[in-house]
Symmetry: C2
Subunit: 555 residues, 2 copies
């Protein structure tokens, strides 16, 4: 029976940060765990979203039995629409995870055709030769699961993202017993989250942020503005409860904050008391001492609600002296500069700022630290171990963490990068053939814009529509453009269409004129605004979608 | 006598990170404190160094009496050559600070004409109506001073960068007495370092890193590779001493590491025992268990020694399994991605990595935390306070820290940004006229290259030589270029010179071919290599210096 080999194929998220996706193949049957996305490095000019290249799955479309989702974070579900665009396969996830996927599918008008199957922890799903049990784990978003995948060669455990929160806010404990049970019976391969491997000790419980947040709500004499990830449902619940306790009403700003709270509320994951909420248009009028505003945009994304509030360009909230702004989130690596710009703008408004590490904390991580990782390793005691979710150095540290299990049945750890594959058969496990993987870059115009016409723009197709590069020189001290904008274009329009490029320069000039001083001093905001405006103009004029890469020269 | 007003004019470093410079004017006399540089944001394509625009000083050249340097860090002295290129003024600094300036002046062949004047703490220099006393302070580099500037309207204290190290490695205590004396007599204006204002408590003494470093040296069974800033003379001394104590010889890699240790040794600031040092060419041959290597490049600068070691492309050091690499430095904001790339490469070599925060620490800051800042405020008790050296939010927090002094003579704090000015006269202090300031961007070809022909490239001159933009598509998984490189150029060569651009494409292709897989997978390295090679070719062919901006598309 077990003459076929088992292959474990990371399509994304190993040796890189984000866009997690893993294929598991036995003979002619494949299942996929997660299909995430990542935000690109600044070097990838003009790209908004990066997803794994799912060619391997498309090339073997007839074999793919289903997609299993561990939880609702973008780095695990953000690529689902792009995968389902090519593969008509069933998707399995908890109610909240699927609701978050539905939101994305709707934006792409793909919801009707999707085969979404809700599962609950404890459920078992049979897909070809695989039997998948879903196991409840704790993490920073709601309704997260790990997977126990029984294959003809043995059991594979995939943890998803997790921490072992001893006192979760919703009272639903991490299912240690299930991990212990599988460990006792024998596990062939463990794949475990490596994100926080370099933190010693235990990650604090989500509850640990309550004292600081309560203190802020009670002591602040004016508005309290809190920014956190909209998917952090437990954090939102805590803020709702503390606001109510301290006599504050809660306003919500930002598209994702509004839609996610609605989803979580509808699913019974978020309790919202009557008369607690303020409509966005009422926030500015409400008594500041009795107001709390939840705003999306913790990472300084240039078009997010908080960034717009920071540069005093949001119609529903004008920060004032004495207001308190709390960043209840970590800085995702690569976003530090954007976040610092936003923080400086908030300071210019005269508002108080609370962010960063402090005791008690204003943010705790959703990922387990090294002692939690060892706990999982010791419960599962796998024969083979493959650290997942992390850059190379994190994966290699996680492998080192498992060394002591050599005396307890561990035969080998594999530090693998996306594109490598692990092969397991009766004789054992080894690195197998390289799989053609890669990245697909997607230009959606503007990250926070409703993505009404998202185009999958593989950079290989650059030659088809070419690119347009508006170049603007801005005087840093005055914030004013120096001379008219230039536009460099290649492979987009021939010399016969000079009129369109001349008009495009005027579009850029107009965008500059209609921006205020602070926006002009903020490259990130200006790049996004110019890109969005120019894209609208060029699409209308030419029905083509060149890559638009604004370059701002500071003089 | 005091009918003239005093003006304090930040030319750089207020409301931004780096390139600190401050002009102080009384009537027709100006003195300048520091002339720093900064490394640019990634958005500033093709720029290597940014300095303040010194136009204000050039426009008033006849009034500038001298440049006072507080210490030897690049963000305080890196702009000196660019200032002295236009102004023939005397420069004052400690022996070590001047030696570090000499090194830069030599690169620009400007050393002979410079009027460098060595001062010692306690010395007083008279410049027009100003009398400047130099005060010894502790910081992460050697021979640092604060300034007490007596003007006709009162005393200005400028702290430079400092922490109040209670147990400095060289035994030279922070001169608290002098600050107390001036404070007792009455200080008109205090300008104080805001870098670490958001850290609570005290910054640990430089000595605090010794236990961890000693432990690493003693326990490691193979090579110990330590990277720290070459200007951290006390840290270097500690590493030399610990290496010797643990039976290791010390090799030095990287241009700055070699030259700064030589300078510090010649000045008697660094004690190097006989037979302690290994020549670079002997490092690889020496017994690993008895070797320590000091390498420059803590910030992941793509062409630095450590980055080259990390991608296994340094002729004098090949990392191996079991070697230990220590990053004894902080991550400067904006460099996180470069540093993480380097760390991942080191992990691929199989070496152990020690970096980040831990107890005991492997790095301590050179800047005072909030309790130290309050100590200085309480010693000086100024009439006016202007926080310096920091982004806007740091300056505003520092101003908040001084609030309690309202009951002790403080009349006002001024949170100022570069380009604003403070005016003080008999009637008091207020924000004065705006000064035309800005930034000058300099393209030196390659940061770590010997700068034999540095060109000051104000972006305003872009129209003169134009730009050249090589565009390369690289397949992330294979590391191979997809198709031939493209080159976009504007304002550089006319259509008649197609041959040169065609040949330039071949130059880029050649750079790609002769790079190894890991280099090709590292955008930063490839951008630098392509830029350097293309620049060499184009300069030779055309004698022009277009801005070269390599764009790497990952497909």
């Amino acid at each position: 029976m077990a003459d076929k080999k088992l292959q474990v194929i990371p399509l994304g998220g190993l040796g890189e940060f984000g866009m997690n996706s893993m294929a598991i193949r036995y003979g002619d049957d494949i299942i996929v765990v997660d299909a995430g996305m990542m935000f690109p490095d600044a070097e990838l000019l003009g790209v908004d979203i990066v997803t794994p290249d799912f060619s391997y799955l498309k090339d073997n479309a007839g074999m793919v039995r289903g997609l299993l989702l561990t939880h609702a974070h973008e780095d695990h579900i953000g690529g689902v629409p792009f995968l389902l665009a090519d593969l008509d396969i069933p998707v399995y996830g908890t109610g909240f995870t699927l609701a978050m996927v539905e939101r994305r599918l709707e934006e792409h008008a793909m919801l009707e055709d999707a085969k979404l199957n809700e599962i609950k922890p404890g459920d078992v799903v049979k897909l070809g030769p695989f039997e998948v049990e879903f196991i409840h784990v704790t993490h920073s978003t709601a309704a997260c699961v790990a997977l126990a995948i029984t294959t003809p060669l043995g059991v594979i455990i995939h943890t998803g993202d997790f921490k072992v929160d001893p006192t979760p806010l919703d009272g639903r404990l991490f299912d240690l017993h299930k991990f212990a049970e599988y460990g006792k019976r024998g596990v062939l391969l463990l794949m475990s989250d490596s994100t926080n491997v370099d933190r010693s000790g235990y990650t604090e419980s989500e509850r640990a942020v309550a004292p600081r947040l309560e203190d802020i709500m009670v002591r602040s004499e004016r508005r309290v503005v809190v920014s956190c990830f909209s998917s952090s449902v437990h954090r939102l619940q805590m803020i709702f409860d503390l606001a109510r306790k301290s006599g504050r009403k809660v306003g919500l700003l930002g598209r994702s904050m509004l839609s996610v709270t609605e989803i979580a509320h509808n699913l019974g994951l978020l309790e919202v008391h009557d008369n607690l909420l303020l409509r966005p248009q009422d926030i500015q009028l409400a008594e500041p001492a009795k107001t709390c505003v939840l705003v999306s945009g913790t990472q300084g994304e240039p078009m997010s609600a908080l960034s717009r509030v920071a540069v005093d360009n949001h119609k529903h909230l004008k920060l004032e002296k004495g207001d308190t702004v709390v960043l209840s989130a970590r800085m995702i690596p690569g976003n530090e500069k954007n976040i610092m710009r936003m923080i400086n703008h908030v300071a210019r408004r005269g508002s108080n700022l609370i962010f960063g590490s402090m005791t008690p904390p204003v943010h705790v991580s959703g990922h387990g630290s090294s002692e939690e990782l060892k706990l999982i390793l010791n419960l599962v005691r796998p024969k083979y171990f493959m650290p997942v979710h992390g850059e190379y150095y994190q994966l290699s540290r996680h492998a080192q963490l498992a060394k002591h299990l050599r005396d307890h049945g561990l035969e080998a750890s594999f530090v693998m990068e996306t594109g490598e594959s692990l092969e397991i058969d009766e004789k054992g496990a080894r690195k197998g053939e390289r799989i053609a993987v890669g990245r697909v870059c997607i230009d959606s115009g503007s990250i926070d814009e409703v993505v009404e016409d998202m185009v999958i723009r593989d950079r290989r197709h650059l030659s088809e529509d070419g690119f347009v590069m508006p170049i603007i020189a801005i005087d840093k001290s005055t914030g004013k453009p120096e001379g008219p904008p230039e536009i460099v274009s290649r492979g987009f329009l021939s010399e016969d269409n000079k009129d369109i490029l001349a008009e495009a320069k005027k579009v850029v000039a107009r965008t500059l004129e209609t921006s205020n001083h602070e926006e002009r001093a903020d490259w990130g905001v200006m790049q996004e605004k110019i890109r969005a405006d120019l894209k609208r103009y060029l699409t209308k004029q030419t029905a083509r979608r060149p890559l638009i890469m604004p370059v701002i020269l500071e003089v």
